[in-house]
């Protein structure tokens, strides 16, 4: 069972061995509304936690997507460049943003699990 962790900035990160897939949460896509554009990093770029890794733009505004953990970008989801609405339709699945080679898998332990994230989101209201 792959481990999925969450950030306070509403990104998710799912570990797959030495790699991890990153996206924005369903709550984030709901708050953004219609996603009309995404900008993804180049392959090979090193990202750091809390630093911009991608950009997502809704009909209203542009937002940064932060890297939840350190790593090197090994893949990006070209499908959401052609069809940004996939981020709204399936934020936790087909709407993924990028795949990292983890610098240190232990960094995931510092992030929220699903129960903690759900409680965090509930507090936002």
């Amino acid at each position: 069972m792959p481990v999925t962790r969450f950030t306070k900035d509403h990104e998710w990160v799912r570990q797959e061995g030495e790699f991890a897939v990153v996206g924005i949460t369903d709550y984030a896509q709901q708050q953004l509304g219609d996603v009309v554009y995404v900008e993804l990093p180049e392959i090979g770029r090193r990202v750091e936690p809390g630093k911009e890794a991608a950009v997502v733009e809704s009909a209203k505004a542009a937002s940064e997507v932060y890297a939840p953990v350190s790593g090197e970008v090994v893949a990006v989801n070209d499908a959401i460049i052609g069809d940004p609405a996939k981020v709204n339709a399936d934020a936790m699945g087909e709407g993924w943003f990028l795949k990292l080679r983890l610098a240190d898998p232990k960094e995931l332990d510092g992030l929220m699990d699903k129960a903690a994230y759900d409680a965090f989101v509930a507090e936002q209201h």
Binding site: H10, A28, Q31, G33, D34, V36, Y37, E39, V55, E57, S58, A59, K60, A61, A62, S63, I81
Partner: protein, 378 residues
């Protein structure tokens, strides 16, 4: 994604409870808590309005009634439009100007038998009221009607929907010409109906007592063609239609000539040169302004938002975006902004600096989407 703290408590329009019951996401706008979108979202709401009929609550806008036979003449002292030449129950888009020719607000003025009615921007209504009251002759009584409700029904099916519900208009609301107005009864409520709007589509604006607004809105929403539309789609619709948003595309630092609104300066008013800022504006008309508002199409997919720097292809700064985003009917990003006159020709190549990267774009004709105002054949 954190909400900003507001100093003053936000005001509500008469439709606030209805917005909440419809699941609207409410945001602060011009001192009001207003629906930015409903659950269907901005793109679906935008496309619905272009295909069928959208209902907008614009009760936050300011309605002002000028009483007196001399009202049109007096008001001409503040705007460059020909108001005295308007037939009763006909309306005109015009501009409140300062002495430098800068734009204090844009508004719609409607001539009525015993005066003039104005609809002004929400964020400007108190300032406009003070300005108008201070400058008009005492023979003209200025009556703010800020408590009245204003709804907009916009889209190609708006006329058919309204005809079903409206009574009291001699030839029927569907025969009213664009920029004309009439009294009507809608769902039992007395309304002032004008064929106008802010979407580029055919449509109507309905002014009524606050107490009647809920009933009229609910009656309209019961019609199968009608969906509620928030301010988010109102903004994308007006941007595609090439219409200015006050405080963004026009303000006190822009003149009507720079803004591409010279068509609002009536021929007889140019000859008389008797409107505020006439010297500056007439000189710009004769000599061409140094900068112009233009439409801009980014060549790529990245939207360029308000404030985006505009460069020429050599990398020299030539202007700034004043409105921009994704155009749902265009299916691509669209923007408006001011550029130096030498770069203002349609097709001219530009670059837009989004997140520090210059991205190719070009000047495009406005509107981005053909307008469909109703002009009956005589």
């Amino acid at each position: 994604m954190s909400g900003s703290a507001e100093a003053a408590p936000l005001r509500h329009t008469p439709l606030y409870d209805l917005h909440r019951s419809l699941g609207a996401r409410l945001v602060a706008f011009a001192g009001y808590e207003m629906p930015v979108q409903y659950p269907s979202g901005i793109i679906a709401e935008h496309l619905h309005t272009r295909a069928k009929a959208g209902l907008f609550d614009v009760s936050h806008m300011g309605q002002i009634r000028l009483h007196g036979a001399g009202a049109a003449h007096a008001m001409e002292g503040l705007v460059p439009g020909d108001l005295q030449g308007l037939m009763p129950r006909h309306m005109r888009y015009t501009l409140l100007l300062n002495e430098a020719g800068g734009i204090l607000d844009d508004l719609i003025a409607t001539r009525v038998e015993d005066g003039v009615m104005l609809v002004v921007n929400a964020a400007r209504k108190e300032a406009d009221l003070a300005h108008i009251t201070a400058h008009l002759d005492r023979a003209v009584a200025v009556e703010p009607r800020f408590e009245r409700a204003l709804l907009a029904l916009q889209g190609p099916l708006a006329a058919a929907v309204l005809a079903r519900l409206a009574g009291g208009v001699a030839k029927g609301v569907e025969q009213m010409a664009f920029m004309s107005a009439a009294r009507a009864t809608i769902a039992g409520a007395p309304c002032w109906v004008s064929r106008s709007g802010y979407t580029g589509e055919d449509g109507f604006e309905l002014s009524m007592e606050a107490a009647d607004a809920g009933g009229v809105a609910e009656a309209l929403l019961r019609e199968p063609e009608v969906a509620p539309i928030g301010l988010g789609a109102r903004d994308t619709l007006r941007l595609e239609a090439g219409l200015c948003l006050y405080g963004h595309d026009i303000d006190e630092t822009t003149t009507p000539v720079e803004a591409g609104l010279a068509w609002t300066i009536a021929r007889n008013r140019r000859a008389a040169a008797d409107f505020p800022g006439a010297a500056t504006i007439l000189r710009q008309l004769a000599e061409r302004p140094s900068r112009k508002r233009v439409g801009i199409r980014p060549d790529g997919r990245a939207p360029a938002r308000e404030g985006t720097p505009i460069l020429d292809p050599a990398g020299n700064p030539v202007g700034r975006v004043t409105s921009g985003g994704f155009g749902p009917s265009v299916g691509a990003p669209v923007a408006m902004g001011y550029v130096d006159a030498a770069h203002a020709t349609a097709g001219n190549a530009l670059a837009l600096v989004v997140r520090d990267v210059p991205r190719p774009a070009h000047v495009a004709p406005l509107p981005f989407v053909a307008t469909r105002y109703y002009r009956p054949h005589p």
